[in-house]
Symmetry: C2
DNA sequence: TGTTTTTCTTGACTTTAGTCAAGTGTTTCT
DNA sequence: AGAAACACTTGACTAAAGTCAAGAAAAACA
């Protein structure tokens, strides 16, 4: 993983570890590839891997009786796993599907956890990462409670323009908590103004 | 804080630290009291404290043009702060208001952070705490996207019965993303069946 | 305890979003 | 290039939730 042009920039995003630690961390990962439409994590199963998505993106969705509802998006380059099922030792609540052929590194989460616990600096890294994630989710909860669908759409455009550019409308609609038809009409209204 | 009958049970909930560490941690806190309706954290300001709420409960709400929208509830005994504003160094997005006269301990978050970084075991404690919080928020996001208001209400009754028992309907309604009138009707429908 | 204030319920009505279905446009794949 | 699959848009209609207002109920307070 040390060869990946994205490893260092992503790694340094939350907190800068000494070079030696970065290398030790990188050694936990194995290179791999995954094809579009494949599931990286399956709803109902258990995860024990941490992934580093180098290219491509994926969606997390929930299977209900009659349809798949997209709840989250993950864009490379980024570290990724189902933290909920890992930390709570419960089956995954969502499936995660690749939306492009992608290069992906994976590591045993157990090894990652040991690494993160082994030194205060490493822990600090993981703590920053978790705090960030937390902030992200809480903001989303607040937006779901306080904003209208149109306001949520505008915020998404502002905060994560890639989502709007690259992903199909139906996925974005569910992510925002509305039907595809409603999002189509929101877009129309915005264009007309 | 070592005298508090709740300190140890809450502390041990996520991960059991050695007695010595627990005591060291407890020493960071100072006892205090706060009255019903007072704000512990104010929207737009910065926080630098970690609280241990020994009794009572509070609500987090957002001020919009014409009303206050309740977004979260916190029940004693529990550790509490505005992690988002602390970790992102941004002004608080929500105000947190006491709903009862309460006993509350507070510590400088800087001290807490040093403590948590000082030993792998301490970090592990904080990490478990954050992972838990994450799971909680993610589940709420999924519920906001996938469930109907009635389903969200039933889940809340199951997962956090105290919220239903102790808090006014208007707060619960906003928490679930509906108006008080709508929640009142949901309750009626459920009673009639 | 009685008064005041706040919260909850209900009805009538409006607005918003969901559903269904048909038709158009776009990708994808061979 | 052409066929098939998929994704998006639009209209007509239905269902759900929001708004407003009035009155009942409950809680707070003096």
């Amino acid at each position: 993983m040390l060869d990946s042009p994205f490893f260092r920039p992503v790694m340094d995003y939350y907190y800068v570890l000494p070079e030696e630690e970065k290398q030790e961390f990188a050694k936990l990962f194995q290179e791999g590839f995954i094809r579009k439409k494949e599931l990286l994590i399956k709803q109902g199963e258990y995860t024990d891997q941490l992934f580093f998505l180098e290219s491509g993106h994926l969606r997390g969705f929930k299977n209900t009786e009659n349809q798949e509802i997209t709840v989250s998006f993950v864009f490379a380059p980024v570290f990724f796993t189902d933290l909920v099922s890992l930390s709570q030792k419960t089956p995954a609540e969502l499936s995660f599907q690749m939306l492009e052929d992608s290069k992906i590194y994976s590591a045993s989460f157990k090894d990652v956890d040991s690494f993160m616990s082994s030194k205060p600096e490493n822990s600090r890294y993981y703590i920053r990462f978790l705090e960030n994630l937390n902030a992200f989710y809480l903001k989303r909860v607040i937006s779901m409670v306080c904003d209208t669908p149109e306001e949520r759409y505008l915020k998404l455009m502002k905060d994560r323009p890639k989502v709007i550019e690259k992903l199909p409308l139906q996925y974005i609609a569910h992510y925002l908590g509305v039907t595809p038809e409603t999002l189509s009409r929101i877009r129309r209204r915005l264009k007309d103004c």
